[in-house]
Amino acid sequence: MQSLTNLQKVLIIGSGPTEIGHETELDSATVQILTQFKKHGVRTLVIDNNPFSVALEEIQPTNMYIQAVTTPNVRHILEKDHPDALIATLGGLQGIRIAQELLENGDLGRYGVTLLGMPTSTLRQINNPADLNATLKEIHEPVIEAQVVQTTDEALGLVENIGFPLIVKPVAPRVDTNRTICENVDDMLTALNQGFQQSRFDQCTLERSVVGYKEVEMVAIRDAADTELLISGLENVDPIGIHSGDSIVVTPPQTLTDREYQDLRDATFRIATEFGIIGVLHVSFALNPANQHFYVTKLAPYFTRGVSLAARTVGYPVSLVTGALMLGQRLVDVKLPSQFTKQTAVMEPTSDHVTVRIPLWPFQEVPDADQHLDTAMKAVGSTIGIGRSVEEAMLKSVRSSQFSPRDVLPSVSNLTDGELISQLIHPLANRILVLIEALRRGYSPDELSELTKIDAFYFVKLQHLLTIERQIQEHPRDVEVLQRARYYGFGDGMIARIWDTDTATIRQLSAEAHIQPTYKMIEPTAGEFPEALSGYYSTFEYENESRALGDRTALVLGRGGNQLGPNSAAEYFTTEMLKQLKRAGYHTILMNTNPNAIGIAPEFSDKQYVDPIQLGDVLNVIQVEHPDIVIVPGNRHYLTRELKKLDLNLHVLPPDQETGEPAPKMATIGVSLFVHQQQKVAVGVMDMIAPGMNKALSQVTAFRMPAELPKAKRNNLVEQAKQAVSERQLTGMVQVLFAPKGDTKQLEVVGVRPTRLTEMAFLSKVTGINWVRMLTRQHIQTLDAAELAKITVDINSTRVALMNAAFPFRQLHVLNRPGSTDQEVGATIAFGSSEALTLSNLSDTEELDQIINRTI
């Protein structure tokens, strides 16, 4: 490897807790860049307070700053640890904002820190629409003229020129969800009031609305020598007006002409050059389908969910390459792993499949939120379907969005015609089902395109799926129809429902007629070269490219797209479990549909299948791989039940959170034990904190460890806990719950349950012992009781840790706090002395936030 720059120490600004706008994709990219840096002997520091971060597991404790990701805390590290360089592009919008503040107040210069990824002049301009537009105009990129206003009077003066609808955006916002479309003066005044508050400069911009245009995103990569290539284009099915994070996204773009596509590619490259980007650039465009004119609407020179999707769908190792570029390599010199035949990073990816991404919304858990899709993002996760036709990819993504555990699409046929029209114009989260229902009721693609501004092409595709559905209905057990249905993405469960039979019958019919899945590799050359990458998806064609991985294989079923509840903790769990399985000599196979999953990176699993985690599809993979063990996540009850009927070595991990005896109403102390054979290791005694007035167990969303109790009392609780566990014959990671008896202060055992995923991650971070791996080893029988006996955890540590759940309420504009466990979107963690983390009032959520986010 050629010598890179003389960087020795780099600080990465972490992304903090998962929230609306970013999930595990940033942590995933961080892990890969860390690995790259490690290879080159660069010491990497990370600041993050996300207890579910996998990146934090990958570095030495001395390089870890588990602190709130804030400007003062980052400045403190610059002062104390003197990194040579700073990476802000892995921390989402917050990372960029912190770097901007450090630049503005002179800290970057003061501590001699180089910013990696872009010049400081670019950093200054991001999220400042006026500055950005001025530069874009200089290079003749069409932009929507934005006028900066400081008062409502100024705005009223401009209205006539701009015309309604117009868009109000705060300048340098503190949050990522803040464009408001205004139809009239009243709307505008409301939006301005809110915008002035959100802006760091008390300013807003006004601009012409391009609502109804196509939204197309381009993801490119550039090096210091100005070599640029396009990784992929992303087409939003929904038009401008619906946040791209809430839109169904298709890649590669399907309804653009080559000329439109190339014009956007050209513009992306000009922008990358002008702004001196080193690494990834994600640009959004509004394209007028009537005349091919376009506007640049957003510029993100940092890792985003769009970057993650682009990379996943073409199989280009974006993070690895970006890591090399940040160390000063040029694209032509970056050597890819040998799985890539040509081992070069400068082949522009092409593609021979279609990927569709569908957002997942939190409205079931947060029913108070306004469920209309608009310019503020509301989705908390997404799931993808890959196929060899738009229909197949679309249907797979819908089937993966977990509408139904049995792989059946729900119907919205109960809507009145009026409601239907209203929802076509003002879409809700069930958008795709409403579009399908409208076609069922006889609306034509052109009519629907007119109403929704969605390209008629997509209605033609959905209509095709309805035609096939009708054929299935009209021809029970017809193998030709079965062939067509599977070819276009219908799941076994869907077909079984229509034919009023079970999945097994469908599978038997298919086997008899030789209608078998064929797996295709996800790789960036569209078959030009014999790549040996590890990602596959299914389709029903002629050639199957996937061969069984070999001996000692473990198939791990992922949890699909991120949703509220313990999902980011589950992602942490799955990744750590994969690592342990690998360490134990298993070849690991992961099935998942979450494009942002960490475990789906080739670093963590030997093979990946991007296919719906539904019974039929899982059985298809099992048929190819014959895994020695199959691991199914605890929240998939139907799937688990069905798989248990088969002759499989099945394990439920992460464990089912709902097993065990009925949960008590409340608990104030939790004692965690790791139980293995005769061993019961005390892992921790923690305060169970339910902020707010309602102390129900489901509202316990903060934890403090060790619990604020005298040492003797803690030891005593541990003994009681061991006793309780012995009586119940439980194994694994167990939590014994305590609550005051009646009105006394006397604590008594009120319940025992498997330790929740969030707390398991917390316990791992606090004790420095990876309990996920322990649990995994227990399942695969590589855990030695004698070894376990040697482990001692100081349950009376003087270092105190606090974990607090993060909720999406602010972005959803609801006042739900305190939240419950099934509304968690992520969590934050803090360490400190007992004094620093003392809670004077356990019901005070503000105080919790303050302590967690305090300046170190």
């Binding site: 070599t227 990816p349 092409t350 021979d352 060899r388 036709s389 569209a526 078959g527 030009e528 050639e543």
Partner: protein, 357 residues
């Protein structure tokens, strides 16, 4: 749609659904890796005699547009796709792909495992194939008996001169199966174009007193065109600035003493990085080639290599040492495909201007 078959000379047969014309067709089966631009591809005359497999699985999505023709009378032999959409929804669209192919008597077949075919052809090399109604012994006999013409240029290039008037530089385009993208680039630069048949002599060219001469793209093997055209090139390049693309580039190389070799597998795509040697920068362009200039055969006293494909090492551009004459193997007009090599047309304009000065 009717069930039809794609059969290959190795004896394999693939069932699919016919679209476009219902005729039986035979041709050389090649694959194209471009993401978009099926209309530009199918109308490009370089595909004369060929059946094109499209790597991108969803084809037909934007219908047929008035401004995406690379020729008005396409002569490709067939299209092989995974999934066809029969639609004409784009605002600019006049026709669906299916209708268009029927009008031009080109058969297509969908529902084919195109990825499998590409994986097969990338190692097996060129192969004859047919789209037929019945894949029986007779069909294979017919296929094996098929002899593909080597007179492709004659069949697609203009037999008569025609003008494309404007007010700028006088440019003579020698048509070997010209793609319209070249004319569009010249029009954008206000060139007053005269298109001449490829059989034009140097005198025919010089009689028009052009500021520059452009040798166009075209189908087939440059080795089949005889030596007359090479004489013409040698004579013209000594007098007038010359720019050659695709087949034109191959002829320019031959005329200046270089040798050509057939590629083991034709390459049609735009993902290969191409290095511009003088600046060391990298660009992408649509490439469509069955032959390549043999690097070792280049007479360094006459020609300089200007561009090289970093993936397969092929020579992608040449420049004459003594004359303002240069050529590129890739399609600098960017229709379809990346646009960043369009500045070669500016270079051509400069060559014409500096000759005047």
């Amino acid at each position: 749609m009717a069930k039809r078959y794609l059969i290959l000379e190795d004896g394999s047969a693939y069932a699919g659904e016919g679209f476009g014309a219902g005729a039986t067709t035979s041709g050389e089966v090649i694959f194209n890796l471009n993401l978009l631009g099926y209309q530009e591809t199918i109308t490009d005359q370089i595909y004369h005699n060929q059946i094109i497999i499209f790597a991108q699985p969803a084809i037909g999505n934007v219908g047929i547009n008035h401004d995406s023709y690379e020729s008005i009378l396409p002569t490709a032999k067939g299209m092989v796709v995974r999934d066809l959409t029969n639609i004409s929804t784009n605002r600019l669209s006049k026709l669906s792909l299916d209708e268009f192919l029927r009008q031009h008597n080109i058969p297509g077949i969908s529902g084919i495992d195109t990825r499998h075919l590409i994986r097969k052809l990338r190692t097996a090399g060129p192969m004859k194939g047919s789209i037929v109604d019945v894949a029986d012994a007779h069909a294979f006999d017919q296929l094996n008996a098929t002899v593909l013409t080597n007179r492709q240029v004659d069949q697609v290039a203009t037999p008569k001169p025609y003008p494309n008037p404007d007010t700028g530089k006088n440019v003579v385009v020698i048509d070997f199966g010209l793609k319209h993208g070249i004319l569009r680039q010249l029009s954008e630069r206000r060139c007053n174009v005269t298109v001449l048949p490829w059989t034009a002599s140097a005198q025919d060219v010089l009689n028009l007193d052009p500021d520059g001469v452009l040798l166009s793209t075209g189908p087939g093997s440059p080795l089949d065109l005889g030596t007359g055209v090479l004489d013409m090139i040698r004579e013209v390049q000594a007098e007038i600035p010359l720019f050659a693309i695709g087949l034109g580039h191959e002829l320019f190389a031959l005329a200046n003493g270089a040798k050509l070799t057939p590629l083991p597998v034709e390459y049609h795509g735009s993902g290969h990085p191409i290095r511009r040697i003088i600046t060391n920068d990298i660009l992408y362009a649509t490439q469509g080639q069955g032959y390549a200039v043999v690097a070792k055969s280049i007479d360094r006293d006459r020609l300089i290599t200007t561009y090289v494909d970093l993936i397969n090492g092929t020579v992608q551009g040449l420049r004459h040492r003594d004359f303002p004459a240069f050529s590129v193997q890739f399609f600098a007009d960017g229709a379809p495909g990346p646009h960043e090599s369009r500045d070669l047309f500016d270079e051509f304009m400069e060559a014409m201007t500096s000759r005047e000065g």
